[in-house]
Symmetry: C2
Subunit: 311 residues, 2 copies
């Protein structure tokens, strides 16, 4: 017998899991990424982590390997084009892994893999189409339509984080543009807005030496007006993006994942209000807006299911 292996390669750690073909995890193994040691060392550690997970499952060889990785990347070429958190450029990761394991290796963007996991076995189970949004340091997105991940012509569909939501005078984004959704609705954006506004507005945030989205959420829950308004703004900008998605693609359900989802109660009301105002299908948000169910394993589960499908 052999197992389906799934990998989730992040900036901090590498997770490998051995899965049954139906997406149930049998064993898992983890290792720190230590990207600074360079791609060769990381690929070595990836392969060791795979072997460990296989050994735990009592398996000798993988049947197929699914790799979830931050992008931009090319699933069709099996190549990571640029992964800033890993320091990778044009790395043919599937070829590098299949040199050590004689089986099919497939690559997918981590947000797409998580979207596929949630679609098949998580919050989107039974839906015809799903958008998965991961709101964390940045904002990632994966779209699944009629059972298939939407890749797009340049393999770059679902660039939700860099959708423009403020046409004029928007906040600068790390991508070099202004007015991107991510500049408002990511953990980074929320913290940056707070740090700017606390210089000129009274807020309980002043008690903290360093301010991240977490402190902003904490003060918001204690009734701090500035912090409440920042989450309201983040929700409104997410709502603008989701409204555009609904008008153009008309998706059955939107699943929210990522660390910022802990503040769901703080941004969901303005998000829903905005989607209602700017699209046809904003009402009945309990039907279309859902929290992720598989986090933090959605990417692994999705990669396993995609690998199983490649067989």
């Amino acid at each position: 017998m052999a197992g389906i292996v799934a990998l989730d390669i992040g900036g901090t750690k590498i997770s490998a899991g051995v899965f049954r073909p139906d997406g149930v995890m049998r064993t898992r193994s983890e290792a720190p990424t230590e990207a600074r040691q360079g791609p060769d060392a990381v690929v070595e550690r990836i392969c060791r982590t795979i072997r460990e997970a296989l050994a735990l499952a009592g398996e000798e060889a993988p049947e197929a390997i699914g790799v979830a990785c931050p992008g931009p990347l090319s699933p069709s070429r099996g190549e990571v084009i640029f992964a800033p958190t890993l320091g990778w450029r044009n790395l043919p990761i599937t070829r590098r892994i299949s040199q050590q394991f004689d089986c099919p290796v497939i690559l997918e963007n981590d947000a797409n893999a998580a979207a596929y996991g949630e679609y098949r076995l998580g919050a989107g189970r039974g839906s015809s189409s799903l958008a998965y949004l991961t709101v964390s340091t940045g904002v990632g997105c994966g779209l699944v339509l009629d059972g298939k991940i939407l890749q797009g012509f340049h393999e770059s569909a679902g660039e939700f984080g860099h959708l423009n939501v403020v046409p004029e005078g928007g906040r600068p984004c790390l991508c070099g543009r202004t007015g991107c959704l991510e500049a408002y609705a990511s953990g980074t954006g929320i913290a940056a807005m707070a740090r700017e506004r606390m210089k000129i507005e009274p807020t309980a945030l002043s008690q903290y030496a360093s301010v991240t989205a977490r402190e902003v959420a904490q003060c918001a829950r204690e009734g701090d007006a500035l912090c409440l308004s920042i989450y309201r703004e983040a929700g409104e900008k997410l709502g603008r993006g989701i409204a555009a998605l609904q008008m153009l693609v008309d998706i059955e359900c939107v699943v929210l994942g990522g660390s910022v989802v802990h503040a769901f109660d703080l941004f969901a009301p303005s998000l829903v209000r905005t989607v209602e105002a700017l699209s046809y299908w904003g009402a009945e948000s309990e039907k279309w807006l859902r929290k992720a169910r598989l986090a933090p394993d959605a990417g692994l589960v999705g990669a396993a299911l995609l690998a199983a499908q490649a067989l």
Copy 2:
């Protein structure tokens, strides 16, 4: 032998064509819609027009009928939900037509049918995905991904005309919202902007008793500053919508049809500039931005190909 019949039902006229299965038109027949006579009279006239087109082709019966109609409508239920220009509400048009012809009848939104026609035999031939935008009285849109029309969960994908492009303080739209793309970039929107601004700004438009998008284009070509800026604004708003489409769906080509395309030279520069500024794939517009090739028959051709496929 029998023929594939395609219908295009518009507010002004009904067109019926007999087609070869490969989408080549053999004969056509037309009749005025005269919607004020009510749905029964229009359905009667539709069936008569079909029989005329068949007779011209020397056919007795249709093999399949494809119907392109303004929406919103439900292709799956074969029902026009609401067509203001026809005065139809909840009309089961495919059932009404199949009562008179013993063959499959399929229904499609006119913009979707035109998108499919352009995808298969027009400006999008050979592309993997296409967005067709028809800029006329209103703004319609059809999306074709991997050979299939994107319907969406509520069968309402591609609501491009009512995509919000001005989040705050936007122009009022006929739909009751503000800031919709159609309020700026349709023939109606262009004329309305002109009529408002000519009250307070000097313009050559003052020579006309009545102003439509056509007069605005004419004066713009003669160098009128106000008219030039109105087409620039229409192009910029179209660009915002196309940029959102490209970031979310990543489409290979965007095909522009509809009467306002006669002013392509006036709005294309600001359209392209905006897509370049707000999306990743704006450069090389000669590759992705194209004028429609099948107009005004794109809807008929698409409906014929869809009907042939239903066999």
